[in-house]
Amino acid sequence: MTVQEVRLCGLLLQEHFGEVVEKVGTLMLKNGAQNLRTILHETGMSVDLVKKSLCVLVQHGACLFISGRKGPGSPTEYRASCDQILRILRYPRYIYTAKTLYGDTGELIIEELLQRGHMTMSSTVKKVADRLTQNMEEGRSMDYSEVSSAFSSLVETHFLQRCPQLGGAAMKEGTAPADAVTPAAPAAPASTAPPTAESFSDCYKVPQVTLIGRGKRQLASEDGEDQRNAKRPRMDSEVHGDEGIYWQVNFERFHLHFRDQAIITAVANKLDQTSSEIVRTMLRMSEVTTSPSATCTKPLSANEIFRSLPAGYNISRPILDQYLTLLVDDPMEFVGKAGESGGGMYVVNMHKALTNLARATLESVVQERFGSRSARIFRLLLRKRHLEQKQVEDFAMIPAKEAKDMLYTLLSQNLVQLQEVPKTPDYAPSRTFYLYTVNQLSTARMLLQNCYKTVANLMERRLFETKDSKRLLEKSQRIEAILASLQASGAEPEQLTEVEEMITAPEKQQLDALRLHINKLDSAENQVDETIFLLESYINSTATSAS
C-alpha cells in the first residue's frame, strides 16, 4: 500500500463513514492484518467505537477477517482492503451504468446495495419498491415483482453476486452453519486466503423468494407522528425465504463492462461507427465465454458475427468481411484473425487494446503538460525504444538545444529514462552510449499514483472550501429549514421574504461560487477516476498476460 493510496482511502472512509471509521481503517491499511486488541491499543478509542467501525467496514467489504490463522485459539485478524475502499470513487459510475442497462429500477438496486454494503434480495426489493413508489404519481405504486425481476436480471448478468458466506473467514471443518439456506460450500481445509464470492458455486443463483406486494409511499407529514407510523411497515418481520442470503455488487463485472466500453469507443474514434458496432457485437457474444483475465476473446466466426449483428444494421456479408479485414489490418490490432473456418475466425484483443489505451493516456499527459513537441519526443521513444540524443533531434526534427531541454525535463519528471550502454568494458563516458528510453509499464504505475494523489488533493481542497464557508453554509441551511417550516405552516409571503432576506446578496454570491467550486471539484474527481480505471486495468492485465 503506497502512501498515496492510504491517504486517499482515509479521505474516502472519512467522507462516507466518518472520522471514527477512518481512524480504524487507516490504521489497518498502514499496519496490515491486526487483531482487535491491537487496534484498540493503537487507536486509543473506546471498544464500542472500534467494534462498530469494524462492523461497518466488514459490512461494506472494506475489511476482511480471518480467525484462527495462527492456529486454534488465536485471535481474529482484520485486514482492510485498499482496492475495495478505492472503489467508492467509482460508485456514481456503477449506479449510472445500472441505470443505462436496467433503468431506474436497476439504478436504485445498485445504489441501495452500495450504500448498505450487502443486503438480502427481499429487503432490497422492498426498499427499492418504496423509493420508486415515492416518485410515482399519487395512487400509483411499484409492484415487488417488477423489482424482483430487475434484481434477477442483474444477478443473471453477474452484476450482483452473493456475498462470500462468512465475511472472509476461513472455514473450519465440520462447522457448516446449521441454519444456512445455501448449500454448504466445498469443505476445504482452512485456508488463509479469504474465499472470493466466485469460489461458491451458487454465487449467481437467485433464491426462491416469496415476495408479494407493492412499494409503500411514505406519507409526507408536518410533525413526527405520521413519519413514525410510516416507518412501521418496514419494521415488520416478514419472512421471504431468503434469510441469510446476502447480495453485494460485483465490481469486477462492472469493470469488464467499462473495459468493453472503452474499447468500443476507441474503435469508433479510430475507425468508424460501424466498426465499433461490430466489435461491440463480438464482445457481447463473448461475455459469458471469456474469462475476465483473458488476453482475447474466444474465436468467433464471421458467420456467427454476421448473425449476431443488431437488427438495425443492414450490412451485407461481404461488407462485414471488409470491416473485419480492416479491423485486423489496423495497426492498433483491436481485432485479430485466428483461423479460416466459418468464413474466418476473429478475436478481440483485449490486452492489446488496454495497452494501446494506456499508451494513449500517457501520451495525453505528456502532451497537455509539456506540449506537442515533448509529446513528439515521448511518442518517438515509445516507438523506437532506445535512442541517442542526436537521433532524437533528427527524428523529431527539433533543434539540438530545445531537444536537450525537453529531454532533461522529461527525465527529471521520470517520464523518460536513461540507459548507459558501454561500448568498452571500462565504462568511459566518451565510449558509452547514452540511450533514452520509455518504459510504459513503470510510467503507468507512476501516473496511477499521481492520480491517487490528485484525487486526494481535490478532496482536501473541497473540504477546505466547505470548512472555510462553514458558518455561511450553516446559516444558509438554517434559513432553508425555517423557510420550509414557515411554508408548511402557511406563513404569509412577507414573512417568507423577510426570512429569505436574511441572506445578504454578497453572501448569496459567495454561496453560489462555493456551489460551483464544489461541483467542479466533484466532477473532476469522477473524471480522474476514468484515468485511474484505464491505468489500473492495463497494469492488472500485464500481471496476467502470457507475455
Partner: protein, 316 residues
C-alpha cells in the same frame, strides 16, 4: 636546318590555330574535353603539337587541367576569373585552384594550408583578397559551428555543408519545418475526409485515404512554399514527425518496379488518423499539469488548500 626552321615557323602559326581550336572545343564542351576529342577534331595534329598547345594554354591560365576516371580533361578557365586572376601572383592562383578543386563541398582554411604548404598568415591574406574580389565565398558549415568552408563564389553549397533543406545559414528553420508539417497533415486529412465522404465500400474508402510519399511531395512542391528544392526523402522525414505526433499512420506496400514513387520495389503510404481517446481525466485538473506536484502536501507551503492553480482553475 632550314627544314627545321620552316617547320618551327609553321608550327608557331599552326600552334596558335591549334590553341584557339582547342579553346573553341572547350567552349563547345564546357564540361571538359579529352585528348581524344582534340585528336578527333584535328586528326592530322601530332601528339607533340597537341601537348605543346595544351601546355601553353595551361601556363597562360586559359585552360584547366582536370583528371577523371578515364584520364585527363581540359576545360576552359572562367574568363572572368581569368581576368581577375591576372593580377594575382602564383600563390593566389594556387589557393584558388585548391578551393576550386573542393567543388561545392568547400574546404577548411586549415586544409588549404596543408595542401598549399603556405604559412597561415599568407593564406589568410590571400583568402581575404579572393573574397573581396568575389571569387570565393565563405559558408558556415552546419557540422561545426565555428568553422567555415571556402568555395567558389557562384557555387550552390552541398547539403552536407548547409544541413540540407532544414538549415539556412546554419540556423535550423523550425518555422519552416512546422509549416511543412502542417501542410502535409492538411493534405492527408482532406484526403481522408474525401474518402469518408465518398461513401464507397470500407475497403475502397480506406485505400483512397492513403497517399504515397510521392503524392505528398508533389503537392508540397506545387504549393511553392519552399525556397529550396525538397526531395522525397525530405518529405518523408516530415511525414515521420507527423507519425510521432500521433496524427499519421504509415504502411509499406510492395510496388512494381517503375511505379511512380516506388523505391526498391516498395512504396510508403501515409494517411491521417484520429486519436483513440479524448484527453485523459488527469489533465483536466491543475494537479495533472502542476510543476510543483511533488512538493505538495496538506499542511505544507504548497498544499491543496493554499494552491493558487486550484484557485485560478476554480474561478475560471
Amino acid at each position: 636546318m632550314a627544314e627545321v626552321k620552316v617547320k618551327k615557323e609553321t608550327n608557331v602559326s599552326e600552334a596558335a590555330e591549334v590553341e584557339s581550336r582547342i579553346k573553341e572545343l572547350c567552349q563547345q564542351f564546357p564540361q571538359g574535353i579529352t585528348d581524344q576529342v582534340i585528336q578527333n577534331d584535328m586528326p592530322h595534329l601530332e601528339p607533340q603539337q597537341r601537348a605543346m598547345a595544351i601546355n601553353k594554354l595551361l601556363s597562360l591560365g586559359q585552360l584547366d587541367l582536370l583528371r577523371n576516371s578515364s584520364g585527363l580533361l581540359y576545360r576552359l578557365k572562367d574568363t572572368q576569373s581569368v581576368s581577375k586572376m591576372k593580377g594575382s601572383d602564383n600563390q593566389e592562383k594556387l589557393v584558388y585552384q585548391i578551393i576550386e578543386d573542393a567543388g561545392n563541398k568547400g574546404i577548411w582554411s586549415r586544409d588549404i594550408r596543408f595542401k598549399s604548404n603556405l604559412p597561415l598568415t599568407e593564406i589568410n591574406k590571400i583568402l581575404k583578397n579572393l573574397e573581396s574580389k568575389k571569387l570565393i565565398k565563405a559558408v558556415k558549415s552546419v557540422a561545426a559551428s565555428k568553422k567555415k568552408v571556402y568555395m567558389l563564389y557562384n557555387l550552390q553549397p552541398d547539403r552536407s555543408v548547409t544541413g540540407g533543406a532544414w538549415y539556412s545559414d546554419q540556423d535550423f528553420e523550425s518555422e519552416f519545418v512546422e509549416v511543412l508539417n502542417q501542410q502535409c497533415f492538411k493534405f492527408l486529412q482532406s484526403k481522408a475526409e474525401a474518402a469518408r465522404d465518398s461513401k464507397q465500400s470500407p475497403m475502397v474508402q480506406r485505400n483512397s485515404s492513403f497517399a504515397t510519399s510521392h503524392e505528398v511531395w508533389k503537392y508540397i512542391c506545387e504549393l511553392g512554399i519552399s525556397k529550396v528544392d525538397l526531395s522525397m526523402d525530405d518529405i518523408e522525414t516530415i511525414l515521420n514527425t507527423l507519425i510521432y505526433d500521433g496524427k499519421v499512420e504509415m504502411t509499406v506496400i510492395a510496388a512494381k518496379e517503375g511505379t511512380v514513387g516506388s523505391v526498391d520495389g516498395q512504396m510508403k503510404l501515409y494517411r491521417g488518423v484520429n486519436a483513440i481517446i479524448q484527453p485523459t481525466g488527469l489533465v483536466k485538473t491543475p494537479c495533472g499539469l502542476c510543476p510543483v506536484f511533488d512538493d505538495c502536501h496538506e499542511g505544507g507551503e504548497i498544499s491543496p488548500s493554499s494552491c493558487i492553480y486550484m484557485t485560478e482553475w476554480l474561478d475560471f
